[in-house]
Symmetry: C2
Subunit: 458 residues, 2 copies
C-alpha cells in the first residue's frame, strides 16, 4: 500500500538541491596514497601541480580533511539548468523481470552533454575562469566529457581544446559537431600537434589512440601555452568531490520516501560516476552508521579493478602526469578497438582503489554483448536508450534483480544511469546486426601493460 | 520579488498530470471541413476510414463535439515514464538577450524519441493493440515520429513498419538504428516494396523522397496486409487531440504561478506540436475568455501557411489518402534537399488551417540560417541542443523578445521546444562549416504544386 505513494520519478525541488559537495576522503581512515612527482617520485606539493591544474582545483585535489565544500553560487546557477536529476523507480523493468526487487536509477542523461560529466565540467570551468585563465585543454574518449566541458567553457567564455581518442573521433563525428557547436576545438589523438603525439605516432603508426595518450597531449598543450591549464573528467579526487552531487541528491530523494537501499551499483571507468553516486552511502558505511553492498561494474575488456594491480602508475601514456596509486592495467594498456563506448581508462580513481582494496566495495567485470542485451531490454521497457557505459550497471542491476526473483527477496537496488546512447548508435548497430563480439584480454595481453609499471618505493 | 519564486523548471507532480485530452474542435464555431473520399470526393464516413485507420482513432478523428476525452489508464502509465515535461523559465536566454520579456518554453525533448511525437504514438499504438491488430505502418521524415512509434509499438508488442523519407534515411542512419533497437522495420522511401513506390521511382528516378510519397507507401502496405493499419504522426485531428497534453500541462504549470502569457509560439510542419501546445489557450480565445497572440512558425522553404492555398488536397503524393481542406502547397510539392530537419509536409492540419483562415492565429516563415543562428545561441545559453524544427520557434521567440527590449515591454512569451537535435548533427555541421544556405521557392516553383491541386466543388 505504502508502495503506491512512490512516483515513477522522484524530483527534488530546486530548493532541496544540495548546496555543498561531500568529500568522501574526510571519512576514510586509510586515505588514498598521495600523488607523486613523475620526476622525483616524491609526494607532490601544491606548487608542483599549479602549472598543470587550476589553483583551486589543486587545493581540492589535496584536501583530505574538509568534509563539506560549499558549491559556489555560479555553479549552483548552472546546476539549476539541468538538475536536480530524477531518481526513477524502474516499475516497468521490475514488471518485465518479474522480480520482487525494487529497482531505482539515478538518471544523469537529461542534459545535452548526455551524461553526469557536466557536474564536474562546470565546476572546473568555473575555477579556471575565476583564476583568469584563457582556456583549458582536455582529452575525451567516448566524447561525453569533451561535450560537457565544451558546454561549460561556452557558458563561462573560456577557450576549450579537446583531444579526442582517434577511434571515437572517427566513430562519433556527431559528438565532435556538438562540441564545435559549443565553440570547442577538437583534435583526433594522437596528433601531430604535440611532441608526445608525434612520438606515439612514430612508434605505433595506425594506432586508434587511448585515453592515456590523449591525456599526454592535452597536458603538453596546457603546459606549453600561456593562460591554459589541463582539466580531467574522471579519476581525480576533485572530480569525485564534484560528482558527489549525484549521490547527495539520490540519498535525499530516497530519504524523502524512507527508502534504504540494499545494493548500490555503478559503472566504473575512471570512477567519476561511481565515486559520486556512492559518496554519501560510503560515508555512512565508513562511519559505521549503515551498511550497503556497493558494486563497481567494469568492462571485461578493460578490467582494472578485477584484474589490475594496486600500484603506483602514470595516468597517461606519455608518463608526464603525476603518478597515482590505483588499480591499474599499466599506462601502456590499450583496450581492443572492438570495445564500444567509454570505460577504457587503464587505471581507476585512487580513492575508489583504496576503498576497494580495503574491501568496502566489490567489483564485477561484464562482457560487451551481455551489456548490450541489457541495454536493449532496458531501452524497450524503460523508454530510455542508455549509454553503453551506463548499461554495465544495468546489466548487474538486472542480474541482481533476477537473483531476487529466485530467492524471493525484496531487495532495494539503486544504480546510476549515467547517460544516454544517442551518440553510440554505431555500437548499437553492430549489436543489432549481430556483429558485436566480446574481447577478454589474455594474461599475456595484460602482462605487456604490467611490464611498463614504474618501480616506486613508497 | 515575486519573480524570485519562479523556479528554473516548473514540474507538475505526477498527481497533477492531466487525465483527459482536450478536443479543440468542440469550441470552434467554424469546424474544420470534413475529410473527403478520394474516389467520390464526398465526405467520408467512419466505415470508409476503417480499412486505413484503427476504429477508435477514426471515431476520434470525426468527433467534433466531445470536449474532453478520458486518457486510458494504459496510456497514462506510459506518459508517467517521461511526463510531465518541464516548463522552463529561460532565465539564461533572457539575460543573454538583455530583454525585459519573460520567456518560458515547454520542453518535450527529454525522452528517447527526442520529441513530443511520443504523446500521440503511444495513444495510436494503444488503440491498435486494443483492436487486436498485428501491427501498424507509418512514414517518417526527420525520424522523430518513426522513433516515437517504434518505442510505442515495442511497449505494446506490435509490429512496426516505417517508411522513411530517403534523404533523411541517408542523413540519419542513427535514427534508423534507434528504431531497429526498438524492433521496427525501416525502409527508405520511395521503395520497390510498393506499387506506388515503384511508380514514383519510375517517374522521378533519383528522388530524395517526400513525406507525401512515404505516406502513400505506408498506406498501401497497411491496406494490403491483414491485421495492419496506418498511423500518422501529425496533421490529423486525432493527433492534435493527443498532443493537447502539451498545452494542458503548460497551462496548469503557468496557472500554478499565476502567469498569463501574451504570446504563444510554436513551430508548424503538419501542426501536431502547435495544435497541442495552443489547444487550451486557443479554447479560451474561442470562448472569449482570454486573448493571446498565437504564432505559427514555418520554414521559408516549405511555407504552407504563408504562401499556400486554403483548398482541398491530398495528404499524399500517390493520391490514395482522404482529401483534407487545408493550407497546402500541393501534394506534388517537394522541398529542396537543402532543407534540414522536418517541417517538410506540403499541407497543414485542417483544424489549424481553419483557425488561421479565421484569423485566430498568425504565421511567420523563417529562413534556415537564421533558425540555426537561434539554435546555436539557445544551445549555448540554455544548455539544450534544440532540434531544427523546434529552433523555428526559438527564432521567433528571440525576435519577439528583442522587440520587447526595444519597446521596454515586459511581455510573457511561451514557446514549444519540441525536441532535441542529437540526430541532426549533419545539419549543424553544415551550419558550423558555413556551408548552410537558404532556399525560398519562387512563385514558379510553387505553381507546380498548385497545378496538381484536385478540383473539388464542396
Amino acid at each position: 500500500m505504502e508502495e503506491k505513494k512512490i512516483p515513477y520519478k522522484i524530483y527534488l525541488d530546486e530548493s532541496e538541491m544540495p548546496k555543498q559537495w561531500y568529500n568522501l576522503r574526510a571519512d576514510m581512515k586509510n586515505k588514498p596514497a598521495p600523488l607523486l612527482n613523475p620526476g622525483t617520485l616524491q609526494p607532490l606539493k601544491a606548487e608542483e601541480l599549479a602549472p598543470i591544474f587550476c589553483e583551486e582545483l589543486v587545493a581540492q585535489e589535496l584536501d583530505e580533511d574538509t568534509k563539506f565544500v560549499d558549491i559556489p553560487e555560479e555553479i549552483l546557477d548552472f546546476y539549476k539548468m539541468y538538475r536536480p536529476s530524477p531518481l526513477v523507480r524502474a516499475y516497468y523493468l521490475e514488471k518485465a523481470l518479474g522480480t520482487p526487487a525494487k529497482i531505482y536509477y539515478k538518471f544523469e542523461g537529461n542534459n545535452t552533454s548526455g551524461s553526469h560529466k557536466l557536474n564536474s565540467a562546470i565546476a572546473q570551468a568555473y575555477y579556471a575562469k575565476k583564476q583568469g585563465l584563457k582556456g583549458v585543454t582536455t582529452e575525451t574518449g567516448a566524447g561525453q566529457w569533451g561535450t560537457a566541458l565544451s558546454m561549460a567553457c561556452s557558458y563561462f567564455g573560456l577557450d576549450c581544446k579537446v583531444y579526442m581518442v582517434k577511434c571515437s573521433y572517427e566513430q562519433k563525428p556527431f559528438r565532435r559537431e556538438v562540441m564545435r557547436t559549443y565553440g570547442a576545438d577538437v583534435t583526433p589523438s594522437p596528433s601531430e600537434n604535440t611532441e608526445i603525439g608525434k612520438k606515439i605516432l612514430a612508434e605505433h603508426p595506425g594506432t586508434t589512440g587511448s585515453l592515456g595518450c590523449a591525456i599526454s597531449e592535452a597536458v603538453e598543450v596546457a603546459t606549453t601555452n600561456e593562460g591554459y591549464r589541463y582539466v580531467l573528467g574522471s579519476v581525480l579526487n576533485q572530480v569525485l568531490l564534484h560528482q558527489s552531487i549525484i549521490g547527495l541528491e539520490t540519498k535525499k530523494a530516497l530519504d524523502k520516501y524512507g527508502i534504504k537501499p540494499d545494493i548500490i551499483i555503478g559503472c566504473a571507468g575512471g570512477g567519476s560516476n561511481l565515486g559520486g553516486l556512492i559518496a554519501p552511502f560510503m560515508g555512512e558505511k565508513l562511519r559505521g552508521e549503515a551498511d550497503y553492498r556497493i558494486i563497481a561494474v567494469e568492462p571485461a575488456s578493460c578490467p582494472s579493478f578485477t584484474r589490475g594491480k594496486f600500484a603506483y602508475d602514470f595516468a597517461d601514456t606519455g608518463m608526464i602526469c603525476p603518478l597515482a596509486k590505483m588499480y591499474t592495467l599499466g599506462s601502456g594498456f590499450i583496450p581492443s578497438a572492438n570495445h564500444a563506448g567509454g570505460l577504457r581508462f587503464h587505471g581507476m580513481s585512487s580513492t575508489l582503489s583504496q576503498l576497494y582494496h580495503d574491501k568496502y566495495m566489490e567489483a564485477i567485470a561484464v562482457e560487451q554483448t551481455a551489456v548490450f542485451d541489457a541495454a536493449t531490454q532496458f531501452a524497450r521497457v524503460e523508454g530510455i536508450l542508455p549509454a553503453p557505459e551506463s548499461s554495465h550497471a544495468i546489466r548487474v542491476a538486472i542480474d541482481e534483480a533476477l537473483k531476487c526473483k529466485e530467492t524471493g527477496e525484496e531487495k532495494t537496488i539503486v544504480f546510476g544511469l549515467t547517460g544516454t546512447g544517442y551518440f553510440d548508435m554505431y555500437a548499437y548497430q553492430s549489436f543489432n546486426d549481430g556483429k558485436m563480439g566480446d574481447y577478454i584480454p589474455t594474461d599475456e595481453d595484460l602482462a605487456v601493460g604490467f611490464a611498463g609499471l614504474p618501480k616506486v618505493d613508497i
